[in-house]
């Protein structure tokens, strides 16, 4: 498919979907609502906020209480009735993040709001054939995707995309695209292989995952946590921009008439003072550096235990947006070096 045709596809899809895509904002990019396809910047490096905002909004009303009648009005039907959303230009790492969130919000108890939004969303993925500034996807095996997209675009020579179809939703989208997309030619197949070769050569590798759990088991008392504790301000930026951090707070907010109330949830982060604070008061993680450490342990050791994969997709957002310049990649690398020997660094 020609690049210019993608814009036409987006234009056509706008009748049916709320379309979101990467657009530039000052020194960063954001996934923003698209009313003019020309605003989409498919060459973006990385967005500041990940896609989680489309599935667990930073603040959402879960239900409303009527205090006069003592009744509950669930917001789930409203969520289900939202216009379908189409996300354009989603990098592989972010698709992996969604696959991880699927595990968290599924399981024994399903989070119906998340699932409803997930079902209501169509994703056009975008294969990165050149590395972004802070990412390290290849180190954590998230540079390739087998599932989680509806269409997947690989940029190939001649300002074109090589398109994979990943689901019936993707097929459905193609009916809108109709004449915008041709059957891949031999030349196209060849160009695809060239792009992929280029990709594998250009993406660097800096960690190895095989021993990451042992490393973290051993590193609990490592002096690095004291050092990071001094640098980290517990501002939470890392967790907020992280595509797999999902902690939230729940609170009831009364109407001014005091006759009704919303139960809302909003993002929180385990870095905040009150996160593990209970009535009493007793704080289970009262020490700021303990909270920073917890974030690392939960994401790496904990997620591996619970879901078999680490909760880091190598997107590099927390590295880019940490005001103190703390890098999860460097921390993991340093610990590996100290506890199990230096990982072999391959590639570009």
């Amino acid at each position: 498919m020609k690049r210019s045709n993608l814009l036409k596809l987006v234009q056509a899809a706008m009748d049916e979907y709320d379309v979101y895509g990467p657009v530039q904002r000052r020194t960063t990019w954001v996934f923003d609502k698209i009313d003019d396809p020309n605003r989409i910047d498919m060459d973006y490096d990385n967005t500041m906020m990940s896609l989680k905002k489309f599935f667990i909004p930073s603040k959402e009303v879960m239900m409303r209480f009527n205090l006069r009648e003592m009744s509950i009005d669930d917001s789930l039907p409203d969520v289900k009735a939202e216009r379908p959303q189409l996300l354009v230009g989603v990098h592989a790492c972010d698709i992996h993040a969604l696959l991880f969130l699927d595990k968290v919000f599924g399981g024994k108890y399903v989070d119906p709001y998340y699932v409803a939004r997930r079902e209501n969303t169509t994703i056009i993925g975008l294969n990165c054939i050149d590395p972004c500034k802070y990412g390290f996807c290849k180190s954590v095996n998230t540079h390739m995707v087998n599932e989680g997209y509806d269409l997947y675009l690989t940029p190939i020579a001649g300002d074109k995309y090589y398109v994979h179809v990943g689901s019936p939703k993707g097929d459905r989208l193609l009916t809108i695209a109709d004449k915008l997309l041709g059957e891949a030619t031999d030349e196209g197949h060849k160009a695809f292989k060239t792009s992929m070769k280029h990709k594998h050569k250009s993406l660097p590798v800096g960690l190895h995952l095989d021993n990451i759990n042992e490393t973290f088991d051993m590193a609990w008392d490592d002096p690095i946590w004291v050092r990071l504790g001094e640098e980290c301000m517990n501002c939470g930026s890392c967790a907020l921009v992280c595509p797999t951090c999902y902690c939230y707070d729940v609170a009831d907010e009364l109407d001014l008439s005091l006759s009704g109330a919303d139960r809302t949830r909003k993002w929180s982060t385990c870095l905040y003072h009150d996160f593990a604070l209970v009535a009493g008061p007793h704080n289970f993680r009262g020490d700021p550096s303990a909270r920073l450490k917890h974030r690392f342990y939960h994401k790496i050791r904990g997620a591996l235990h619970d879901h078999g994969i680490i909760a880091c997709t190598g997107c590099g957002r927390c590295i880019e947006h940490c005001p103190a310049g703390i890098s999860v990649k460097d921390v993991a690398y340093e610990l590996q070096k100290r506890w199990v020997g230096a990982p072999v660094v391959k590639g570009g």
């Binding site: 119906p112 902690c247 009704g260």
Partner: protein
């Protein structure tokens, strides 16, 4: 135990329940008895000892509370609640007939079936008795299924003890139950033991053989109790701890109750000491 669970489309939506009875336990704690409004819920709502429910006061918030009644006595849900913050204040201000929201039960609870045939040692501190009361009464009701029962209970002051009637009159008189109490501070009306709960190990010799210990109390208590139990020869798997953490969702999503890689609400609140031993920051 077979549980018929109610199917819900939205796990977060509470069921309505009304307060039917309120009994003062101490200055700070009361026992609240709730009855679900919906017939179906009333019929199918079951739980096992050690599980908890999430109680909503609409407009104020939601908080987790262990169930204090026992499923062996079908009827209403009893919760023993200490007044310490917004939700608990509001619960204490409820009048009989007022409606709240309740969802659950959540958490693993005590592995009550696996404990059949064992001797049981209960160690509770303060309102840690709330979840243990559920197990104790369960065992008392199914007395033949379990071995010897020993109960250690510690509170700061005599009048800070909860369920005094059961402590003084019911459990000591049940078959093959040994009951010991202590208070932290000496008090003129108190003739019994004085000292923290671990001092009861000197008063009553417990054998670790074929015995499982169940512990619930304030955060500081666990470490010392476990040390003493280990000295007595208890194995990690035979020590069960009911832990408390901050909770918002109760169903493993909000991540507040995370201890290392475990979620208190799903993997717990009851853990064996073996599990906890390998978990940093747990006790």
């Amino acid at each position: 135990m077979v549980q018929i669970t109610l199917t819900r489309t939205n796990e977060y939506l509470p069921d309505l329940a009304k307060l039917v009875k309120k009994t003062k336990l101490t200055e700070m704690e009361s026992l609240f008895e709730f009855e679900f409004l919906d017939n179906n819920v009333r019929k199918y709502f079951t739980y096992s000892p050690g599980q908890f429910v999430q109680v909503s006061i609409f407009g104020i918030g939601e908080a987790p509370f262990s169930v204090s009644s026992t499923p062996t006595r079908p009827g209403n849900l009893e919760l023993g609640i200490r007044q310490t913050g917004d939700v608990t204040d509001a619960i204490h201000n409820l009048n009989v007939g007022n409606v709240v929201g309740i969802r659950g039960p959540y958490g693993n609870g005590f592995p009550i079936d696996k404990l059949c045939g064992k001797n049981l040692l209960f160690i509770a501190g303060g309102i840690g008795m709330v979840p243990l009361r559920s197990v104790i009464n369960y065992v008392v009701d199914k007395r033949d299924d379990y071995g010897k029962v020993t109960i250690f209970y510690g509170a700061c002051l005599p009048d800070e003890r909860v369920f005094v009637d059961e402590l003084e009159n019911v459990w000591p008189n049940a078959a093959d139950v040994e009951m010991h109490q202590t208070v932290d501070e000496c008090h003129e009306t108190w003739q019994g033991n004085v000292g923290v709960v671990t001092c009861l190990f000197d008063v009553c010799k417990v054998a670790s053989e074929n015995t499982v210990a169940m512990i619930c109390g304030p955060p500081v208590m666990y470490k010392f109790v476990v040390q003493d139990l280990m000295k007595l020869g208890f194995k990690g798997d035979d020590i069960l701890l009911s832990l408390e953490r901050k909770m918002q969702c109760g169903v493993g999503k909000c991540a507040h109750c995370q201890i290392g890689h475990k979620l208190t609400c799903i993997d717990g609140p009851v853990f064996t000491f073996s599990e906890v031993q390998r978990l940093q920051e747990a006790i």
